[in-house]
């Protein structure tokens, strides 16, 4: 489940391509300088979309990458984004470098969204924020900061978590370990296991938490459980690092979805947060995000900001302008902001609806199994229960893909954003077949 191997189809596609294009070297060098460089396996998540594109099946369904699709399964550029973009082009602004820390208007907006405008931490200047390259870039800057200033600290990742988390910390040589999270039997949260593992973590460890809409499981702690986790972090001196990629996208409500990080701050904890606007503003390709540190001390926040900038300078110098301008425009314009909230409710609503339809279909086709997890889970992703943990060794996922042309990641995750009403029945049949017969 946690290996880097992509679906078998994707591997075949890549291998075939290699055979066809290999040619004799043009210049005879003493030895090939890069002969020892091995072909990297396709990315387990993005490789799924590649395989999907290569498929010729008329029934193919892409439930791989987490990008929102509308009811016609088309990508969506939010109306507010188009409006904002047109406005910005109309202003004919220059294309100068942003400061290393990014666009001021965006930085202010993103912190307001996270904590709520006027939050004491903001008033007191205790928040360090750098605009960065969406969630990944923000996590990377945070990871580099941990590597440099929390030497020897271990980062605890939920089991399972978004696959790229491991690489982001690994590439900075930050040690990581898992804490128990997903309970395959209940298809829910292994809260007891989670608390045990975090209790056992050494003081000064970092805990990576998903702010809402856990990726890949869709399983979130309850409000009460969040409170217990916060208290534990406080007691054990663990640094919470929130990955907030779905604020506003999970429930459709920006404030509700920010409950967890806000609760932690309220309890006096210092937190690190990586924010992404890929999904909630649909700005995927423009790479808009922020790394935020909410500290208890203003001077420390200032110094931390200077160090975050130093790390960013050696990674990319300064962040890209375009997406940040769009985000700032949307948040700072009352009409656009309200319209945006409506669009988020629409997206979250559609996902909630197809979840309900899928559960209903599965209940009808396979009543002996409890499918309630589908509507209990939240956000774009669902851990279907088609995991290797159910001792199928990936056979079920292979069955989904090879027999039914349903493309999903090998850990059993499906993206509900890629499902519409028209395909619910087809998918339900595929799932039932895979659970029964694979």
């Amino acid at each position: 489940m946690q290996t880097a191997l992509g679906p078998s189809t994707a591997s075949r596609v890549v291998a075939n391509r290699q055979v066809r294009t290999a040619r004799a070297p043009q210049v005879v060098a003493a030895s090939s300088r890069f002969a020892d460089v091995a072909q990297a396996p396709p990315d387990p998540i993005l490789g799924v979309s590649e395989a999907f594109r290569a498929s010729t099946s008329p029934n193919k369904l892409n439930l791989g990458v987490g990008a929102y699709r509308d009811e016609d399964l088309k990508p969506v550029v939010l109306s507010v984004v188009k409006k904002a973009e047109t406005k910005i082009v109309g202003r004919a602004e220059n294309k100068e470098y942003l400061p290393i820390e990014g666009l001021d208007a965006f930085r202010k907006a993103t912190v307001d969204l996270l904590l709520g405008a006027g939050h004491p931490a903001i008033q007191e200047g205790r928040v360090a924020v750098v605009q960065s390259l969406s969630g990944t870039g923000s996590l990377r800057v945070g990871s580099a900061f941990i590597a440099r200033f929390m030497k020897g600290a271990t980062v605890y990742l939920s089991n399972p978590t978004w696959g790229n988390h491991r690489n982001i910390f690994g590439d900075e040589n930050v040690e990581w370990k898992y804490y128990r999270y997903f309970d395959a039997d209940t298809v829910g949260l292994d809260f007891k296991g989670m608390m045990e593992d975090l209790t056992a973590a050494p003081a000064g460890s970092v805990v990576l938490l998903h702010g809402c809409a856990h990726n890949p499981t869709g399983v979130d702690p309850t409000a009460e459980q969040w409170g217990a986790i916060a208290d534990l972090c406080k007691e054990r001196n663990l640094l919470p690092f929130f990955d907030v990629a779905y604020q506003g996208f999970a429930t459709g409500d920006l404030d509700k979805d920010a409950f967890a990080p806000r609760l932690f701050v309220e309890r006096g904890l210092e937190i690190v947060v990586a924010q992404s606007y890929s999904k909630n503003l649909g700005l995927y390709g423009e790479r808009v995000g922020a790394l935020v540190m909410v500290l208890n001390d203003k001077e420390a926040a200032t110094r931390c900001l200077s160090q975050l900038k130093r790390l960013a300078r050696a990674l990319y110098s300064n962040p890209p302008t375009w997406g940040a301008k769009i985000a700032a425009e949307v948040v700072n314009d009352k009409e656009l902001f309200d319209e945006w909230k409506g669009e988020m409710r629409g997206m979250a609503g559609r996902i909630e609806r197809v979840r309900g339809e899928l559960k209903t279909a599965l209940d009808a086709k396979y009543p002996d199994k409890d499918w309630s997890f589908i509507t209990r889970q939240i956000g774009m992703f669902s851990f279907t229960g088609l995991t290797p943990a159910q001792a199928s060794g990936g056979r079920r996922v292979d069955n989904m893909t090879n027999k039914h042309a349903v493309y999903m990641t090998r850990d059993g995750r499906i993206s509900l954003a890629g499902l519409n009403s028209a395909k619910v029945d087809y998918l339900a049949n595929a799932i039932v077949d895979s659970v029964r017969n694979a």
């Binding site: 984004v81 973009e85 990944t136 790229n164 690489n167 590439d171 001390d297 050696a314 302008t321």
Partner: protein, 399 residues
């Protein structure tokens, strides 16, 4: 000093305490280049001049957006596409960039020997390469010219690659220390990585002549060194894209395997869009494919995929005959200023000391990097007299 982790284990944090986990984090020094802009912005003098960062200004001191870029932007505004790019970036953009750099139809392109990914401008290209070097050219140092863009050191250091310097600028002649350079090339361990500025050397503006480039290429070939070309000014240095890339093509003709980091920050004025390309010329299509896959593996945990907007703009300009012609015209015409006769490009290396630079800032509200590098793009007909007088004042010991 106790490590932060051990400190945390020892300190009992009571709920009411406002202790911070980050008390031990020191203030970082300001970036030597970008920090100048910060100081400039903080200065309230109406006479202030920013000669720090290398960003082009017109004669009114205003930033410039090329007309071809504005037009390209109009065409893509309100676009219906915001999806993630592939990890390696926009394929059309990469194809155009590689052709621009190596020449359309160059054998290495036709034979698929070029591994290439879209990068976060020049910085991003350098950083992805530095990480690649760390993993796949272990034990090699990066040889950096003295002097160079200050961020080169930060990039390779953060990637965990050791650096060494090679002689480049000769203060006495205000030109290239050609003999010193060749000596250092010969002395470096076989197979070292050498960072070369393809054209318009930053900060000195001093470039090797074509004959000197040929000699450097031969010397590096002899030692099996691996060149990394940093090209941030193609088209902007001489006004001719092919001429500005001649050094790279000389090396290719000599059969070098090499890497190239291209930036569109200056030559298309796309600074803040962070558009660039990293390419590596390998021995075979197999190697190129493998290398490219590993470049993607570096990029994925760094930023997942590069930003879309700037790449779309560059592609639009380069793929459209009219826009491309317009671009050539616009970059060519920016070079009517010829303030420094022999040096080339955006910067002039004044030879002023750090103390003189400080005096310029404190007494005259003129800001530049402490190595005495002047961004000529910040000089125009309105301020050149004041600049000249100020420089005269601080270098003559008069206040």
């Amino acid at each position: 000093m106790l490590s932060l982790t051990r400190k945390l284990a020892e300190v009992a944090v009571s709920p009411a305490s406002a202790a911070t986990l980050f008390a031990g984090v020191p203030e970082a020094p300001k970036d030597p280049i970008l920090g100048i802009t910060e100081k400039f912005l903080a200065d309230s003098s109406p006479m202030k001049m920013n000669l720090g960062v290398g960003a082009y200004r017109d004669d009114n001191g205003q930033p410039v957006v090329l007309d071809c870029v504005r037009e390209a932007e109009r065409r893509i505004a309100g676009k219906a596409f915001m999806e993630y790019l592939p990890i390696g970036g926009l394929r059309d953009f990469i194809s155009e960039s590689v052709q621009l750099a190596y020449g359309e139809g160059h054998p290495v392109i036709a034979d698929k020997q070029v591994a290439a990914v879209q990068a976060l401008s020049g910085t991003g290209a350098c950083r992805v390469f530095a990480e690649f070097q760390k993993r796949y050219m272990p034990g090699t140092k990066v040889y950096i010219p003295a002097p160079t863009w200050s961020n080169h050191f930060n990039i390779w250091r953060d990637a965990g690659v050791e650096f060494a310097k090679y002689r480049y600028y000769q203060p006495a002649s205000r030109g290239l220390d050609f003999e010193g350079l060749l000596e250092d090339v010969a002395a470096a361990p076989r197979g070292s990585v050498f960072l070369l500025h393809a054209c318009a050397h930053n900060p000195t503006g001093v470039d090797p002549t074509p004959a000197q480039w040929r000699a450097i290429s031969a010397a590096m070939k002899e030692r099996g060194h691996f060149p990394y070309f940093d090209m941030a000014y193609q088209g902007f240095a001489s006004g001719d894209c092919d001429r500005d890339a001649a050094s790279i093509r000389t090396f290719l003709a000599d059969g070098h395997r090499l890497a190239l980091g291209q930036s569109y920050a200056k030559n298309m004025g796309l600074y803040g869009q962070r558009v660039g390309c990293l390419s590596i010329v390998a021995d075979s299509a197999r190697d190129a494919a493998a290398v490219e896959s590993q470049l993607r593996a570096v990029a994925r945990p760094m930023y997942s995929s590069p930003p879309l907007h700037g790449a779309l703009l560059v592609t639009k300009v380069l793929q459209d005959k009219e826009l491309k012609a317009q671009w050539y015209k616009e970059t060519g015409s920016q070079l009517t200023w010829n303030h420094v006769t022999d040096q080339i490009g955006m910067f002039a290396y004044s030879g002023m000391s750090g103390e003189m630079v400080d005096a310029l800032a404190a007494q005259h509200h003129i800001y530049m990097t402490r190595d005495g590098r002047i961004s000529m793009a910040g000089v125009n007909s309105r301020n050149v007299d004041r600049l000249a007088q100020a420089i005269h004042a601080v270098t003559s010991g008069r206040l």
